[in-house]
Amino acid sequence: MSYCVNCGVELDRSEKACPLCGVEVLNPRQPYDDQAPRPYPKRLDPIYARINRRFTAAILSIAAAFPAVLCLAINFILDGGLTWSFYVAGALAVVWVFVVPYFLYAKPTILKIFLPDVLAVSLYLLLISKLQADGSWFLTLAMPMVILTCGLILLNIVLIDAGTIYGFAIPASILISAGILTVGVELIINLELIGRLQLGWSLYVLIPTLAVAAFFLTVARRQSIREEIRKRLHL
């Protein structure tokens, strides 16, 4: 008979360690016996969770592929070539990239899910720009905006996920990012249209977001401000 020194319970012969606390049994008179009758045999029942997720992914893929192929076919039959159907097929492909990876990974992480999305959006924009006569906007307008937006989103996700930003600092961070995004978008547009960096309407967005963000940050820091005052002014 072995007892757990930590819990005081007697352990069945089949237990190598205490199931309650994990402390291993060290009884020199009765060492752990791998052959002792166990309440549950070693055979494992397979779990089908992954298969079901794959099945869902397959169904979604078919649901997305069907209208895409249909559009390509109609486009080809009616117009004798592929023109507008590329927009439909491309959009469906983007949706597919947004939805399906979630079902394929057993442990979806932010990077595994988010980076393919960024890539898909960029490729779709590239596709549109190639379909048009003048597609120069892709490099000067589309890509800077995609990089800026996705960079800000990624930064927020990573910081919140890591716990660097928490509580009331989360809305503050999101607001500041929104402000920066607006300014960035205006700069990119102005650079394209009038050829120089100039700020106008985006300031009206930036200032309120910064003001509200400052409020959230103050609330988030209230505890530490109070501590600071007490530390420096205590009697």
């Binding site: 007697e10 352990l11 199931p19 606390c21 309440p39 549950y40």
Partner: protein
């Protein structure tokens, strides 16, 4: 020849789900639907071929268990199924969620391992007491086929007699008399949190206790064994809540099923249990173990009686009879029921504690049986649940948990040891192979 032909063209027998069973197919989709497992540990090794034979013979006596789950336009229903019921070897991770394919076969699994016969039930079929009748009948049939003497009675049915229609009645519907409808007003309870076990693994930790010792300690507080175990468990959950960084004001509540067959002359082998939820309100102040014993004891006295239970039953049966709910198509009903379950079901209690009590056996069975075992399946919101059953002087308390942390189980058994009750612990822990 004509008889054979007639048999194949006969419409299949079908059964409505009983009132309590209606929720289980709905919550099944979250892979946490109600399952439970009953097992019997024999003195001699199990012979699989004879067990297979015994199962086929036993199932003929339980036509309402030989069913599969089907979808109707308005409700799920059980349709009789004549495929061959197969026994399977037991596993280390029991009560794996039923897959869609399995639902179309039997709603129970009979498993064997060395000296153990176990049956995992889908709750839509029956409750713990109905399941126990099935297991005892199966065990008796098995023992008789092994050439041992085993009588009938004490919950083991005679497999040579036809099924009684009273055994398949919806007793809730039959006995709720609508004198008064009572729906207890309960707020959201405290819930344990932890790291979910990967791969739908259900962690099982059981403690074997001497029943006489438990009884005498319970008696020293003037309470029953169930009340004693519930009190100790509640107290430990309460202490975890107060120390573990949880909301320290949320009520700590247990859900305890009551076998309503005790109060009505029903022979039903389908669900006929109701749940009472004793608990404490930490917002009212600090509780001692003795105070909790008193609260649980008086709560059980107040609720476990025919009048109170009938009022509870009416609250459950009432909505089912509303013409609007009945006319709603099944997918809509599922949505409504899932919402209701989310808000007033499991969220109202912290854990379940189900005590089947002492198992009585027919003549000749006790000599062949070491003990009975009882386990609850995983549930959606409450990671840890507790099932209790006793055989002779062996009281078996089994915790099944979907999370890695064992704080509640450890605190519970440690408290019993502190009270002078010896505990022997066994589990389904996966130890890495050493070479």
């Amino acid at each position: 020849m004509s008889r054979h032909k007639k048999k194949t063209t006969q419409p299949k027998e079908w059964y409505r789900l009983d009132n309590a069973a209606k929720i289980y197919p709905v919550i099944m989709r979250s892979r946490h639907g109600g399952y439970f497992r009953l097992a019997v540990l024999l003195h001699e090794p199990v012979d699989p071929a004879i067990l297979q034979q015994a199962l086929e013979a036993t199932l003929k006596r339980f036509p309402f268990f030989a069913v599969r789950l089907r979808r109707g336009l308005f409700w799920y229903y059980l349709e009789s199924y004549d495929g061959k019921p197969m026994i399977e070897p037991d596993v280390q991770n029991p009560m794996r969620p039923w897959t869609r394919k399995e639902i179309k076969k039997y709603l129970f699994r009979v498993r064997y391992d060395q000296r153990r016969i176990s049956v995992e039930f889908f709750h839509a079929l029956t409750d713990g007491n109905g399941g126990l009748v099935f297991l005892k009948t199966l065990t008796a049939a098995y023992l008789r086929l092994r050439g041992r003497f085993c009588g009938i009675g004490a919950g083991a049915l005679d497999i040579n007699r036809p099924a009684d229609s009273g055994e398949m009645e919806d007793a809730y519907k039959r006995y709720s008399d609508f004198r008064v409808v009572h729906r207890p007003r309960e707020t959201k309870a405290f819930h344990l949190q932890g790291t979910i076990m990967p791969g739908h693994w259900l962690q099982i930790i059981s403690g074997v206790l001497p029943l006489d010792r438990v009884k005498s300690v319970a008696r020293s507080y003037g309470i029953s064994v169930t009340e004693f175990l519930a009190g100790v468990y509640l107290y430990q959950l309460y202490r975890i809540q107060q120390q573990g960084g949880y909301n320290t004001l949320a009520p700590v509540r247990l859900s305890i099923p009551v076998n309503v067959r005790r109060f009505y002359p029903s022979k039903t082998l389908r669900n006929f249990s109701l749940y009472v939820n004793p608990g404490i309100l930490p917002a009212f102040g600090t509780y001692t173990l003795e105070e909790i014993f008193g609260l649980v004891h008086h709560f059980m006295r107040y609720t476990v009686n025919e009048k109170y239970l009938n009022a509870l039953m009416c609250a459950n049966v009432g909505p089912e009879q509303s013409i609007w709910l009945r006319l709603a198509p099944l997918p809509l009903k599922n949505m409504v029921m899932r919402l209701v379950y989310h808000f007033v079901g499991e969220s109202r209690f912290t854990s379940s504690l189900s005590n089947l009590g002492p198992v009585d056996m027919p003549e000749g069975m006790a000599e062949a049986v070491e003990r009975f075992e009882f386990l609850l399946g995983p549930s959606r919101y409450n990671p840890v649940n507790c099932a209790v059953v006793s055989t002779g002087n062996q009281l078996l308390v089994s915790f099944s948990s979907t999370m890695i942390e064992t704080d509640a189980q450890r605190a519970f058994f440690k408290e019993l040891v502190r009270m002078g009750i010896p505990v022997r612990v066994e589990s389904n822990t996966l130890y890495p192979e050493v070479d």
